[in-house]
Symmetry: C2
Subunit: 344 residues, 2 copies
């Protein structure tokens, strides 16, 4: 399996390198017979193009970067990545994840990628950037597309759900069930310094609650614990339950910002003797596999599809097209399961 180059194929087929190049890439202006011969030789010699050489010569890298905050193993990230991969790989692109755990790595990424065309496009998942970064992104000549990024600034396109509207649906649903006191529980364990759909959702909760006539005393917000010392999960959730139960007005309708936090919270709530849904309704967000396991009422979203749509926009942009609708709002829907019930 010694490395064979296009020159080897050319020699074997008795043609020039450029002919081989054209033939193998399916360009026109090459005699069918010649093409056949070339293809046969290429095959025989196990030839394949060197991506580096191709991209150096052509200026196209056939690679797109996908920026992920914190981890690729989370439900959202892995599915969004997969959706993007699915459509991009079909067009021959390599899709390279860049997992950015910290600000430092973000900086490193920004320092290396932009300048010299190392990728043809960038897809960004979930996180928001500071103004300086947005600036840089905006100046980039390659397409930058978002997947559930909270802001469009600096991006050429994007696909995202409407967190604000979705939280509105949840709040109104809870109100319709007769809950007069509501709580919002932020993602308890959140290592990433970037993700902020959490903040957006909290905002949506607050707005909707106000619009629905809930007073300041009728709502309680338990924020994300970003910089806390490491404790075991159990402690974290019982702490949250403690806050919930010790509120002046005990909430009966709980919005949890992500399903992943809902399962342990439910368990803790029940351990403390509360009955869900009889005493308390709980609504999650995502509809990940854990939601169906614990029979959680939750806001459904489809990250795979978000990834696909983002990738399609990327492809269009790469093809030089102008998007009629650069930023798409992806659908979301409330799935009613067993953790919510009419109160009273």
């Amino acid at each position: 399996m010694t490395r064979t180059t296009i020159a080897d194929v050319a020699k074997a087929a008795g043609v020039s390198v450029s002919t081989v190049s054209r033939a193998l890439r399916g360009l026109d202006r090459v005699n069918p017979e010649t093409r056949q011969r070339v293809e046969a030789e290429a095959n025989r010699l196990h030839f394949s193009f060197s991506k580096s050489a191709s991209s150096l010569a052509s200026g196209k890298t056939m690679r797109v970067a996908v920026l992920l905050p914190s981890e690729i193993s989370s439900w959202f990230n892995s599915h969004a990545f997969e959706g993007a991969y699915e459509v991009l790989s079909a067009e021959g692109y390599d899709v390279i994840p860049y997992i950015l755990w910290s600000q430092k790595e973000l900086d490193r990424f920004f320092q290396n990628l932009p300048g010299n065309r190392n990728v043809d496009a960038i897809i960004v998942a979930s996180f928001d950037f500071d103004e300086a970064k947005k600036q840089v992104l905006g100046e980039l000549t390659i397409p930058v597309v978002g997947m559930n990024t909270p802001s469009a600034h600096g991006l050429d396109a994007g696909a995202a759900i409407d967190d604000i509207a979705a939280m509105g649906v949840i709040v109104r649903f809870l109100k319709s069930l007769g809950h007069t006191t509501l709580a919002y529980v932020g993602q308890p364990i959140n290592a990433s310094p970037f993700i902020c759909s959490d903040a957006v959702r909290e905002n949506g909760f607050l707005q909707a609650a106000e619009a629905c006539g809930y007073g300041n005393d009728d709502i309680i917000v338990i924020p994300s614990l970003r910089n806390m010392d490491v404790r075991n999960e159990q402690d974290i959730y019982s702490g949250i339950v403690a806050q919930l139960l010790s509120a002046p007005k005990q909430p009966t309708g709980i919005c949890v910002s992500v399903d992943a936090a809902a399962a342990p919270l439910l368990k803790e709530l029940r351990r403390m003797g509360w009955r869900v849904p009889q005493d308390m309704s709980v609504v999650g967000f995502d509809d990940d596999p854990s939601a169906s396991i614990v029979d959680l009422t939750t806001m459904h979203q489809n990250p795979t599809e978000i990834g696909r749509v983002a990738a399609r926009k990327t492809l269009a942009l790469l093809a030089g097209e102008t998007l009629e609708e650069p930023f798409s709002i992806m659908p979301t829907s409330l799935v009613l399961r067993g953790t919510t019930e009419r109160i009273g």
Copy 2:
């Protein structure tokens, strides 16, 4: 953000390209002052290397491919990938997933990658290859490392759990609990034509059962349904439960090949009126998040660590080192939770 090349930096710093190259790559034989000046200019001009040019010139791509069967969003795959990413990216490598859903894509991968150094190494997750592929892999001059691949043939190194031994532990545990009739439930929904830890585990179950003195009538195996028509999940699992309950000798100890299948199975079992663990013990495999949610006794493994170890071996191989222990057995441990109980 116009593309600046190493030549621009050289001109700006008043030195030659090769000096810039040396300076920026941290090689010795460059005057500290010169280096400073070069770095300053590079910074000012937002210079960064073109990977394509570097790899074309140096022969190193600084990229490693990770072959994944079916999906990157599964618990095992996403974590194994992440582990590999973690150690590889720290050394400056891009790590590129290749998700192979079908034989066709596997073929395409084999056709494109091997010949011309497009990656420096390949890491393969979970799946086994046919002899022809192993042959090709073996002939490859770049390192090929496995993560939980059932066979070592064609690989230069690997990190994997011992499925056979782990199943032995499960079977003996169930026996110790007094279960006289056992069942093995294969992964019910399995689109991939490659994964086969399933088959290996089934094998391990059979071997251990025999070794423990279980007769042919004392065990029942419900195989993976690979090529079945699409049905809803519910139906699939109730079908399994039906098989379990209609067996001549009804099993009381159930081994499920993956946790992901255990949660729905448990639900279905209970829906049919069976009490777990009182009437039946259920043991899973993986210890993924669903296991702790449903309080499942299961065999724990750490895919992230498997990915890390595989990546470290890859790095060592890339550095030309000879591994003292090319193939490592990764630890596994039975986690006792609430779905198992002494029978009778």
